[in-house]
Amino acid sequence: MDMARQDTTRQDEGRDRERSGERMPTGVKVALFAVLGVIMLGALHLIMARGPAMLLDLAALSRSFLCF
């Protein structure tokens, strides 16, 4: 009973945060994850498809890769 009440309270807090603009609306969150998923899968696909060509290019220029 107490646990059910706690869950309800948490859900209410979540909805309050969403309404106050603190938390991202669920629809936007789903869309964002979908876009990021497509971008990341595309990047992974390109890395695999272009394989050694890109990796060798990267090896040649590692001087600037990830060096921030």
């Binding site: 971008i39 272009r50 990267l58 220029l61 990830l66």
Partner: protein, 409 residues
């Protein structure tokens, strides 16, 4: 209950999304520049040094500009800074695409440096921190960092595909247009609070004096120097180290790609760790973890699989320093001059980067081995782990008095 102690009309989630996207685009494009070394050098008939000089100048300008750019972003708002950065970025990329000589490439590098300085962490972290309620600051900073990590990983293969599809000059024009997106993202920061809009805010000079006199800030900056040293050494010399171990050339780049992938997860995990335990402890563990991994690189029998696994593990400890270091600065001094103070620590990071890249090559030439450099990196890692421990992770007295004065606790 307001979501922030300041009035801010943009929803906080949108602000964080815009911050992450800005940093992602900024870092992503910057990472992709490396792919242009070969085609630009070949097409223009220049030695590779010309392009390397241009990129070196970009990094130098970025480091030197971080402090003033951060101060301007804090005082006048991130929007102006990011829009200016986007314009610099577009101009720099255009100059690079149309360059015909070494001097034009070098000028492009300097202009690009201002673009990267304004579009990267420095400007946006302060804006996110000031807009967030104290309990949400670390999360906001962490997600901004994750955006940067995703950009760093994902942009490179797309740029490589673009170069192959449309040629290097046209692909640079696409990158310039992409950089323009930063100006659109910057609109999210229009109503974000600034140091100038906060009543009774500390002056810039007072903030600088306070930070410079704070032992914790000095120790944190020294630790971030070590971060730059490690990151640059590994980025620049890991492929050569693996080649010396008789691995195929692709494994070096594969290891760097594994670091990039691990970095996305690491940014999230390290930022989260900063919410669960004291950030100084998380930083200490992170630097210590790096030292252990370096030790493993030296002594463990390496195979292709172990190299990739170790690299992924190293990636988890890669840029997790950013949310932790910036979060700790915000804990100590508050968010008012956050971008400016982070700009100072970032300059130390870039100096460390330069030394890590240069010393690795110098010591290799002397000893014909990377062993000395690995050991220096291990000792620096242990040193950074130790110097983060004595940092007193509590707000300066001024913030406590402000909180009491404004009725907050």
């Amino acid at each position: 209950m307001p979501h922030s102690i300041y009035r801010n009309e943009t929803p906080f989630w949108l602000l964080v999304l815009a911050a992450g996207a800005t940093v992602g685009v900024c870092f992503g494009i910057r990472q992709a520049f490396g792919l242009y070394l070969a085609p630009i050098s070949a097409d223009l008939g220049l030695g590779r040094n010309a392009f390397a000089l241009s990129m070196g100048l970009m990094n130098l300008t970025w480091g030197l500009a971080a402090f003033p750019v951060g101060a301007i972003a804090d005082r006048y708002g991130a929007t102006r800074v990011i829009v200016t950065a986007a314009l610099c970025y577009m101009l720099g990329i255009y100059l690079m695409a149309t360059a015909r000589s070494e001097s034009q490439l070098v000028i492009a590098g300097a202009v690009l440096g201002f673009g990267v300085a304004g579009g990267s962490f420095t400007a946006v972290l302060g804006a996110v921190g000031r807009a967030a309620a104290p309990s949400r600051r670390q999360m906001g900073i962490t997600l901004t960092g994750v955006g940067g990590s995703i950009g760093m990983f994902a942009a490179m293969p797309y740029a490589h595909w673009l170069i192959a599809s449309v040629g290097w000059q046209e692909s640079l024009m696409v990158l310039a247009a992409t950089a323009g997106l930063m100006a659109i993202f910057a609109l999210a920061f229009v109503s974000a609070p600034t140091a100038g809009s906060m009543p009774g805010a500390q002056s810039m000079g007072a903030a600088l004096r306070e930070a410079m006199a704070h032992p914790g800030f000095v120790l944190l900056t020294l630790g971030f120097f070590v971060c730059g040293f490690h990151v640059a050494f590994v980025s620049v010399h890991l492929p050569a180290f693996l080649k010396d171990k008789a691995f195929d050339a692709w494994l070096g780049a594969g290891a760097l790609a594994a670091i990039g992938l691990g970095n996305i997860l690491g940014s999230l995990l390290c930022g989260k760790a900063g919410e669960l335990i004291e950030k100084r402890l998380a930083l200490s563990l992170l630097y210590f973890g790096r030292a252990i991994l370096f030790l493993v690189f030296i002594y463990m029998p390496l195979s292709e699989v172990t190299v990739l696994v170790l690299s992924f593990a190293l990636g988890i400890l890669w840029l997790g320093t950013v949310p932790l270091t910036s979060g700790l600065i915000m804990t100590l001094f508050g968010p008012t001059w956050m971008s400016m103070l982070f700009g100072i620590t970032f300059l130390a990071h870039q100096i460390g980067s330069f030394l890590g890249a240069w010393l690795g090559g110098f010591l290799y030439d002397v000893f014909k081995s990377y062993d000395a450099m690995w050991w220096i990196s291990i000792l620096l890692g242990i040193g950074a782990a130790l110097i983060n421990l004595p940092i007193r992770e509590r707000p300066v007295a001024r913030l406590s008095l402000d909180a009491v004065g404004s009725g907050q606790t």
